[in-house]
């Protein structure tokens, strides 16, 4: 597992293409971990992933679109918390506010387990000088303005990311 030359500077280039709460985690976790290891990191936020650069994060999760998601309660006795609730998809689709409820429950579960919030991880990335590149094309498509994003975000296109990724040791599409 170890690298042959640990002193070599490393670069990580990520594409964050998804904007749900569950998919917001991988890019920010990898980016902050790489930054903590002294790597140079850049993340290109495109399509739905671009919403992760908004000043106010609204990432939610949809159990309807994720049939493998364990549905567990973050409170109550241990036996109760370990129950995996099987809720029919038809029911999830028809209950108003089900996504909001599932999002709240996931956030509570993450907090009780000691997982940082997306806001905290993003702040860490900013602290670690991770390059946060917002996709100009997506901005135009969705009608976002630069002022919608955190001030550390820079704006660029495919060529901006590819030039950065060309010299990266690790490139991942998330």
């Amino acid at each position: 597992m170890s690298k042959s030359n640990p002193n070599a500077p490393r670069r990580l280039a990520l594409i964050a293409s998804k904007g749900t709460l569950d998919w917001a985690y991988p890019p920010f976790i990898l980016a902050s971990a790489a930054g903590a290891m002294g790597w140079e990191v850049g993340v290109f936020f495109t399509f739905y992933g671009l919403t992760l650069l908004k000043t106010k994060l609204t990432a939610a999760v949809s159990p309807l679109g994720n049939p493998a998601m364990p549905m567990k309660m973050p409170f109550g006795p241990e036996g109760f918390q370990s129950i995996n609730w099987h809720i029919p998809q038809m029911l999830m689709a028809n209950v108003p506010g089900f996504n909001a409820l599932a999002t709240t429950l996931m956030k509570q579960t993450f907090e009780s387990k000691g997982v940082a919030t997306i806001e905290e991880l993003r702040d860490m990335c900013v602290d670690l000088n991770v390059r946060l590149i917002g996709c100009q094309m997506t901005m135009d498509v969705f009608g976002f303005k630069k002022e919608d994003f955190i001030p550390q975000a820079e704006i660029g296109g495919a060529a901006t990311f590819l030039e950065y990724a060309a010299d990266a040791d690790v490139q991942l599409f998330i």
Binding site: S2, K3, I29, A33, A36, G38, W39, G114, A116
Partner: protein, 78 residues
Amino acid sequence: MDVIKEDQILDCSGLLCPMPIVKTSKAMKELQTGQILKMIATDAGAPPDIEAWSRQTGNEVLLSTVEDGKFVFFLKKA
């Protein structure tokens, strides 16, 4: 066994990936070369992650052990 004397203690108990690594890296930045950070964690992923972090950053793991059910690391700043 010689007792290692730490210059700083960082308790990451209860925190999951990547926070122990991120906080450790932040704490190490405050130290001088040769100084030692004692880091405590409960994340089962911490031992392999600290080893990888050490290889990547050059900071040395002097001791990786378990005390009272918690993972304890003594890390020397490169």
